[in-house]
Amino acid sequence: MASQGLELAAPPAPTVSAGADIQQAGEMAAPRPAVRDVAAARPQRRGRLSLLALLPAVAAAVALALHTWLPNGQKGANPTRLYPALLSGMIAFGVFVFLTQRLWRPIQPTRRTFLYAVPSNVLHWCVVNAPLPAAGVLLLCAWDLVTLKFALMPLPYFPGPDAVIQTLVDDWASAGQGQPGLFECMTHSLALLFCGYLLGAFLGVTCGVLIGWFRLARYWGMPVMKLVGPIPATALIPMSLMLFHSPMMSAVALVALAVWFPVTMLTLSGVMNVRGSYLDVARTLGARPAYLIFRVAIPAAAPSIFVGLFMGLGASFLTLVVAEGVGVQAGLGWYIDWARAYSDYSKVYAALVIMTAYFSTIMTLLFKVRDRVLVWQKGVIKW
């Protein structure tokens, strides 16, 4: 794609000439997420495969060789066939990506091209960012070495990747002893997070707009914000449990509270800092207060609101995990607490692996929403 190299070469500069404007407008016509991988812009010579794309397969082969041929050092470890099978799969996949590397191109997914575009984008990412999965595999290998192989870190606290992966599979449907499995914990946490976050974000934006816009609301609201805001939501767990009776409701309320504070703060600051001239212009165009609030103040504050939403999301993860440890009978936080009580540390790590994937996915989703809502900021602000 032609504009890809252009974006990389020169960030949009302020332009005066009409020609440059047309060029920029053309670029804008198809908004795409900024291309981060430098390798994508590098012209590939025909007929030669980039050896870089083979790195993950090589790393997986090294990890497999060490895992197979080094003797196990940890006493009581019970290695299974799952980890070697996973590594073998990675080797096969890596070789496949290496051999087919020139087939994959980044494609803007549309309804018609969706089935082809998504795998093509993923595989293209694997080709141009090959060092990243390779580093990931090497990290697994290092973990395997310091635990299972050389026993530098003892059992039961530090199980190897082999044991954790096995636990992920075993505990997926049920954790044993009639307890909910990882899948159920994920859906449970998701439901809790979803309700709490949306509630908190909605209340936060509402309070922020009220306090930011109306003098009376600011007079009474600001002291409340200053007093209640800095209290960590987790410190309110005992009170919340008594107020709400159901531990599930209490956890939702705590997550909502944790999200509410940063969202309110950043929203009100965004609303209070709306450029007066935007409001003046709108008023001379015949705008009533509803237009000023919903069509000027809130969009103008949107970048700031999103900062609050990101801060709130971080706070919601923290609060979720802690709140789930109290009273709730399922969820990732509960699962970690429960596994630790039984000293089953491979379960703890399995839950951490799931959380990593899970929370980073949610964070990525929020970034996507941000990119879509704040598309007008593209090329103005970068973070």
Binding site: V16, A18, S277, T284, L285, G286, W376
Partner: protein, 268 residues
């Protein structure tokens, strides 16, 4: 060119009257700033009047008062038979900074006035005409940060015109543009003025611009801000920037504002 508004009743609604208006501000350091003192001015319907003067002479304040964005400390402001108390879609305001809403595309920016008044459905087609009029139809879906300064200012003018205001208040609308864009934009504004018969009040730092464009020039002086003198520009349009009478008028205004140079100002 035929004005859509020529005819009976126009004079009432399209004229401006400022009656003995003063405006005091409380400065951040607690002192009282006399931005405008005992100012009176009448602008006839369809007239183009410039306000010229050094900064601090209250010309922008006067414009904001007429827009209804500020209330006077004393005195009255009238738009036709209506006392100005709040902003109205009948009186458009254009700033030096285009102040396009950065979160809206050019088209949506131009539609803003229609949306604000709740008449988008009936008048949507007018936005397309306006975009053609100011030559922005190719940039309808661009965001403001993708426009050059001149294009953004044209969009801002078009946005103010969408409500068919009787009066356009222009606060140094061309001040941020380079000299060539500026001269071209002056002609474009004049073209709009003739086509629509809009009453225009133009604040400017640029004496050439004032002479080139206006029927009358109001000279203002600072501390306290007040009107020093009103000059009729009796040059036929289109005006020549190098006409001797143009240059003579320019010299006269410079002298009045004490910027003519050491020798002449000493004599005056």
């Amino acid at each position: 060119m035929a004005s859509p508004a020529t005819g009976h009743g126009r004079d009432d609604a399209w004229s401006l009257r400022v009656v003995d208006v003063s405006k005091h501000f409380l400065a951040p350091d607690g002192s009282d700033v006399h931005a405008l003192e005992g100012t009176s001015l009448s602008v006839a319907a369809g007239e183009l009047v410039s306000l010229v003067g050094p900064s601090g002479c209250g010309k922008s304040t006067l414009l904001r008062l007429l827009a209804g964005l500020e209330t006077p400390s004393s005195g009255e402001l009238w738009a036709g038979n209506e006392r100005i108390a709040e902003p109205s879609a009948d009186r458009g305001l254009i700033f030096q900074d285009p102040n396009l809403f950065p979160w809206l595309t050019v088209r949506k920016n131009l539609q803003a006035g229609l949306v604000a008044r709740g008449v988008l459905r009936e008048k949507r087609h007018e936005v397309e005409e306006l975009m053609r009029l100011v030559g922005l139809e190719a940039f309808a879906n661009a965001y403001p940060h993708q426009l050059s300064g001149g294009m953004a200012q044209r969009a801002a003018v078009a946005r103010a015109l969408v409500n068919h205001p009787h009066v356009l208040l222009l606060d140094e609308p061309l001040g941020a543009l380079d000299a060539f864009t500026r001269m071209r934009m002056q002609d474009e504004v004049l073209r709009l003025w003739r086509a629509r018969g809009t009453t225009m009040l133009l604040v400017t730092h640029d004496i050439d611009e004032a002479i080139y464009m206006s029927d009358r020039i109001v000279l203002m002086t600072p501390r306290p801000g007040r009107i020093e003198r009103v000059i009729d520009v009796r040059l036929e349009r289109p005006r020549q920037r190098n006409d001797p009478r143009f240059l003579a008028l320019r010299a006269e205004i410079l002298e009045e504002l004490h910027f003519a140079g050491r020798a002449t100002s000493g004599a005056a």
